[in-house]
């Protein structure tokens, strides 16, 4: 055994579900909590003005919202242990109002914490190796990854060791904590992009070159918000040993040359857009060449140390299909629907990936009560090695469930109101909190999601419609990813009223595209009608095997626009 293996072996009872802190990590996070406690005290005493305090509270995930403060907790690369999920539930009960909101960037938000309580909340999080570091602010944000990491059959390599490597590197970075604007990094190691890497400031795609060496395709300048852009390739194949140096080079170019005169033009996507990718690539390459790379001397031992925490759990050797599962499906149609919609293929025979939808019909997308969090923690321990994932679609994943156990799991979820069989369907809506909570919002988004969800409450109709990404943002900042929704909805203010602009044709995957505007804004009441008209038109026009986005791409935006115009003339209520 190597020294690295020994370090892991010293924790025989620790579930290998995710990275575990060593004494350095633990000291660092507890120092951050102590620092924040002092920052809060200094804010209360006036040593820090609100203007001075703001960047530091944001860098620790604390916002001031419409009704109260909001604390955004990081769930790095979306991986959680059962113990961590229980702690999130306990915090919701003790310091908040008994629930939390899972966000589109693998974070959890508490909507009602008091400023004076947040240091205690952070201490409680640190106790289970969690934090709120850099979940906001003009710094490198929580690094996200494919929520099927490590279990997807289409994967080259688990992206989480890379993401953890970057989490550590970016934590309180001396140089890059006061950037022109926020900076988001996402990593995927799979053939299908489930992490939306093309719409991040930096997207990393793990690739293999001709000689079988693992490296990264580095994409820069993607993003949503006021001006959406698809990222462009800045490094075709960056070997692992150069990754940190290459990223520092990009960040240094951005920190020095990114615009600071206008907050809406300060993201790296604008720098890339204004200078052109060739000029940016040249600048990054020049900086990379000038760097003293001995300071970044690749540390394969450290990477391996991190990777060891993500070793596969002790799977049993099982047949590829389960007779129990087959029988249960025949017997219980509701369960069969759940399996067909929410259960995905696992790379290990006899196992499955289960998506637990946080989108019950008429519910608040991404919200979970403390009781539900505890059910999920219990379920993961009974059926999935105590591991949970959070997806950017605001759902929870149980990544390793035996097919034989699926029925028992479903029964448990069903009893807790967590068995909605809509993963990827029209009611699996991504939505930001919108004006119900957020002080930046220009309109509400949750009630729109609820109304659409109720309109399509017939689950068999949803299955007939098939895959359809509806994404709703309550302002131009696009936290609800509306630009990349096959149907995107953006809430705006028009003449003192909430108004909704609809876009079609967005796609967050490797075939990324930004949605096109359908027409003038509509009222909240009209949104479900419009969506229904669009869906009906698609159903009428679709060819065998086409999802909504495929039909839209084939027949074109104009036809969809026309149908709405015609309906409008016929006196339909849109």
């Amino acid at each position: 055994m190597t020294a690295v293996d020994l370090r892991v072996a010293q924790r025989p009872n620790a579930p290998m579900t995710t990275y575990r802190y060593d004494e350095y990590d633990a000291a660092f996070v507890s120092e951050r909590v102590a620092e924040f406690r002092e920052q809060v005290n200094r804010r209360l005493s006036g040593a820090l003005t609100e203007e001075e305090f703001r960047p530091f509270r944001l860098m620790n995930g604390l916002y001031l919202q419409l009704h109260a403060y909001m604390l955004r907790v990081a769930i790095p690369y979306g991986t959680l242990t059962a113990r961590q999920m229980r702690r999130l539930a306990d915090i919701a009960d003790k310091w908040d109002k008994g629930y939390g909101h899972f966000t589109t960037r693998q974070n959890l938000q508490y909507n009602w914490p008091k400023l004076v309580d947040t240091p205690d909340i952070l201490e409680s999080l640190a106790d289970v190796e969690m934090h709120a570091i850099q979940t906001s602010g003009n710094c490198i944000r929580n690094v996200t990854a494919d929520h099927f990491a490590g279990v997807a059959p289409d994967e080259i390599e688990d992206p989480r060791p890379t993401a953890e490597f970057l989490r550590q590197w970016s934590s309180l970075h001396s140089e890059f904590s006061f950037l022109p604007r926020k900076f988001k990094i996402a990593v995927t190691g799979a053939a299908h992009d489930r992490a939306a890497i093309l719409v991040h400031d930096i997207g990393l795609r793990i690739v293999k070159n001709d000689t079988g060496e693992i490296g990264y395709q580095v994409v820069v300048g993607g993003g949503l918000g006021r001006s959406p852009f698809i990222g462009k390739v800045v490094g075709d194949f960056v070997p692992r040993e150069d990754l940190l140096a290459f990223l520092e080079a990009i960040l240094r170019v951005y920190n020095r040359f990114g615009r600071r005169d206008n907050k809406y033009k300060a993201r790296v996507k604008i720098l890339v857009h204004e200078k052109g990718i060739d000029e940016i690539r040249a600048a990054v390459e020049a900086e990379f060449a000038a760097m003293d790379r001995s300071a970044f001397a690749h540390d394969p031992e450290e990477f391996e140390r991190i990777a060891a925490f993500f070793a596969p759990p002790p799977y049993e050797s099982l047949p590829a299909t389960s007779a129990l599962l087959r029988a249960a499906k025949l017997e219980t149609p509701a369960f069969a629907n759940f399996v067909d919609v929410n259960v995905g293929a696992h790379k290990i025979p006899g196992y499955a990936i289960v998506t637990v939808s946080l989108k019950p019909i008429g519910g608040v997308p991404g919200d979970a009560t403390s009781a539900q969090m505890r059910v999920l923690a219990d379920a993961s321990e009974r059926f999935g090695f105590g591991e949970l994932r959070v997806s950017h679609e605001q759902n929870i994943i149980l990544p390793h469930v035996k097919q034989d156990d699926l029925f028992a799991l479903w029964s448990m979820l069903d009893a807790a109101g967590l068995a909605t069989a809509n993963a990827g369907l029209v009611s699996d809506i991504i939505s930001c909190p919108g004006l119900d909570y957020c002080s930046l919002a220009t309109a509400r988004s949750i009630p729109i999601a609820q109304a659409i969800s109720k309109r399509f409450s017939d689950m068999s109709r949803q299955r007939r419609i098939g895959k359809l990404g509806v994404k709703i943002s309550g302002c131009i900042n696009a936290c609800g990813h509306h630009h990349v929704g096959a149907i995107g909805i953006l809430g705006l203010e028009k003449k003192g009223q909430e108004s909704y602009q609809i876009t079609l044709g967005g796609d967050p995957t490797f075939s990324a595209s930004i949605g096109e505007i359908l027409g003038p804004g509509v009222t909240a009441e009209q949104v479900p009608d419009v969506v229904e008209h669009l869906v009906d038109y698609y159903l009428a026009e679709r060819e065998e095997g086409e999802a909504f986005i495929d039909t839209w791409r084939r027949i074109g935006h104009a036809r969809f626009k026309d149908v709405l115009r015609r309906e409008g003339e016929d006196g339909a209520d849109i």
Binding site: Y24, E38, A47, W169, S170, R260, R305
Partner: protein
């Protein structure tokens, strides 16, 4: 103005020269960037002087003068404008060995960042020093025992420490 060094408020041995002031024969003084070329030209090799530069300065503009400079002060137009951190890094990379000073409304919480990027001293306006006293600056300096980055100045790198632990 107040000057912070090693977590303490200290007397400033340097004097900022107004642009209309003649270059003195002795003492430590700081000129503005437009006057740098002239100062290098006319001042003898024993003169002790520095320069204050905007945070948008290209390091190449200072390279020729670096061996003559004992101090470079980088202006922070706003505390949240982090360009000065990168410029400091680049000047250290160019082997500037003199005093590197951050000048502006930096808050105490940025002290570890400044140290990490190679700054020695921080110069802040008096009203800020009144609110954020020496104790707060010292606390900020000692807030973290180590950092995750490598190749940055300061308290030592967690990565290096781990490597040592594995190898011992």
């Amino acid at each position: 103005m107040a000057l912070i060094s090693d977590g303490r408020f200290i007397e400033d041995a340097w004097r900022r020269l107004a642009d209309e002031e003649a270059l003195p024969k002795t003492g430590k003084f700081i000129v503005s960037l437009p006057r740098l070329e002239h100062a290098v030209e006319v001042l003898g090799p024993t003169a002790t002087f520095g320069v204050i530069v905007p945070n948008t300065t290209e390091p190449s503009a200072l390279i020729a003068a670096l061996p003559r400079l004992d101090l470079i002060s980088i202006a922070f137009p706003a505390f949240a404008d982090g360009r000065g951190f990168s410029l400091a890094r680049l000047l250290r990379r160019a082997e500037f060995k003199g005093e590197l000073r951050a000048s502006g409304r930096l808050v105490a919480d940025q002290y570890p960042h400044a140290i990490g990027c190679g700054f020695d001293t921080i110069e802040i306006p008096d009203d800020l020093a009144d609110r954020q006293d020496e104790e707060q600056w010292r606390a900020a300096l000692n807030a973290y025992s180590m950092s995750y980055q490598r190749g940055y100045a300061g308290r030592g790198s967690i990565l290096e420490a781990r490597r040592k632990a594995v190898r011992s």
